[in-house]
């Protein structure tokens, strides 16, 4: 086992209709706050902190979240993930999510900001049991450089592997390599600066829900380009190209809202962060 810069293990379970922490362990540059039950809901919201303030050259982070049967939780970050320059070794994060039967996880990290000359690899590996549901989002920004130029980082790679009853049912690998590629070109970012992904895997997904989401996205104002499609397993991906985090967040919030109302007859909690 490598010497992790930050490690975090969270285990939550359902007790009499309420999801509570069963085990919690963290060490190094990962921290988690006491869960918040927004609006007295039974679904805790966990905020992950990176006390170091950002990922540095060669940093390695590992997180694992396990939800027991019927447990429901939201996991998010306290602020954006910042990747600083990595002159020698790329920064790496792996996240393993274990979702038992009937559980539901919303994993909604804040946008990723990669600084000049940064390289980052992220792997999310999700192990779901039949009847579990996952809602995941991520947003990639054009990063940060002292001169204010876009895409000054070297490379960002995000891999999502989703297993249902131990069988690979979805695989998603996004790679942005501004070091070698012209980001504005057709097929790449096409003149946009931000990329958002919204992924849902659940038995409850059907084409009617997709139509509903599509109609809602069509009504959104602003300059963006969006696509959505069903996965090879019940579930879907929404991808959005836009010029600001806010536009993507607004679209994702609307979609999240529709899903919460359809599935749980309630609105999603507002994630208070500051």
């Amino acid at each position: 086992m490598p010497d992790w810069t930050g490690i975090l293990e969270l285990d939550a379970e359902e007790r009499q209709g309420k999801t509570v922490t069963k085990n919690l362990y963290f060490q190094g540059a990962f921290k988690i706050m006491r869960p918040v039950y927004h609006q007295n809901s039974n679904q805790p919201c966990y905020y992950i902190l990176n006390p170091g303030g950002g990922y540095l050259d060669g940093d390695t982070y590992r997180m694992s979240v396990t939800l027991g049967e019927k447990a429901k939780a939201t996991v998010t970050t306290q602020s954006s993930t910042k990747i600083y320059k990595t002159p020698n070794t790329q920064a790496y994060q792996e996240t393993e999510l274990f979702l038992k039967k009937g559980s539901y996880l919303e994993y909604l990290p804040d946008p990723l900001i990669a600084y000049k000359d940064a390289r980052y690899l992220q792997r999310n590996i999700v192990h779901m049991e039949k009847g579990a549901a996952l809602l995941y989002t991520d947003i990639l920004t054009p990063g940060w450089s002292p001169e204010g130029e876009h895409f000054s980082y070297d490379s960002l790679r995000l891999i999502n592997e989703i297993y249902l009853d131990e069988e690979l049912v979805a695989f998603d690998h996004i790679k942005l390599n501004p070091n070698e590629q012209d980001m504005d070109r057709v097929g790449m970012m096409e003149g946009y600066t931000h990329l958002g992904s919204f992924m849902v895997v659940s038995e409850k997904v059907d084409s009617q829900l997709l139509d509903l989401l599509y109609e809602r996205i069509q009504k959104e104002a602003g300059d963006f380009k969006a696509g959505l499609s069903e996965l090879a397993t019940p579930g879907f991906t929404i991808r959005v190209l836009a010029n600001s985090t806010q536009v993507i967040e607004r679209i994702f919030k609307e979609c999240h809202h529709i899903i919460s109302l359809e599935w749980f007859q309630k609105e999603p909690s507002f994630l208070r962060k500051y």
Binding site: V186, G187, L228, L231
Partner: protein, 228 residues
């Protein structure tokens, strides 16, 4: 003349009935958005499609499958069959690719006496596999003793040729312009082969956002001549 090469050529023929003529893999979305409208803009898209999608998906899969065939590691092949299918987040492209794979497999299996092609066909029939042209083509190339790089090169070449022919019909561009693009892609195909050789397995399926988005958007395109 090497008969084996001719046999593999047969699968590359643009008239080979694998259904490639009905799939644009997102190109039609760009045509409708007027982002691709002439030989230059089409060649630009085609280069990205080759270097960013075919290389990381079909090409790398072909390389891994060819090595697995040498090692008689069938599990690796079935793993790639699943990966090739589930990594495709755009439904139409995923289903179209699967159909094309099945068509090619059906014909290849009826022509060549390769037990592996029959096994692949059976697994698909038993719903233990999905079907993908890159695997069928690589199995055939390996069966015919065609070297790995040549097999992958022919596979990529045939993909490029069918996309050019679809572009000739859909944009439209002239037949001569189309042939000039095919000719100009020789160096790019060589670059693609070199890149595939250098990739690591973890590079598999790395896609570019625009390419994928155009494939997802095609589902909601109203007037269409292609199925993807």
């Amino acid at each position: 003349m090497d008969n084996n090469v001719l046999s593999l050529f047969q699968l590359c023929d643009s008239n080979f009935p694998n259904g490639a003529f009905s799939h644009s893999f997102g190109l039609e979305s760009y045509i409708q958005a007027d982002r691709v409208h002439n030989p230059e803009t089409f060649a630009d898209w085609l280069e990205i499609y080759l270097m960013e999608q075919l290389v990381y998906v079909d090409g790398l899969a072909a390389r891994i499958v060819y090595d697995a065939l040498n090692d008689q590691n069938l599990d690796e092949i079935w793993k790639m069959d699943r990966l090739l299918t589930v990594q495709n987040t755009a439904r139409e492209t995923r289903e179209g690719t699967q159909q094309m794979g099945k068509h090619m497999l059906k014909i290849a299996d009826s022509i060549f006496d390769s037990p592996l092609l029959s096994l692949y066909k059976n697994r698909i029939y038993q719903k233990e596999a999905f079907g993908h042209s890159a695997i069928v083509f690589t199995m055939t190339g390996h069966y015919l003793n065609i070297p790995k790089q040549t097999t992958i090169l022919y596979y990529l070449y045939s993909s490029i040729v069918s996309l050019v022919q679809n572009a000739v019909r859909a944009i439209p561009i002239g037949q001569t312009a189309g042939q000039k693009i095919i000719y100009s892609f020789q160096a790019k195909l060589e670059a693609a082969i070199n890149k595939i050789e250098q990739l690591d397995e973890i590079d598999f399926g790395a896609i570019s956002p625009g390419i994928e988005l155009s494939q997802m958007q095609h589902e909601r395109v109203n007037v269409r001549i292609f199925m993807s």
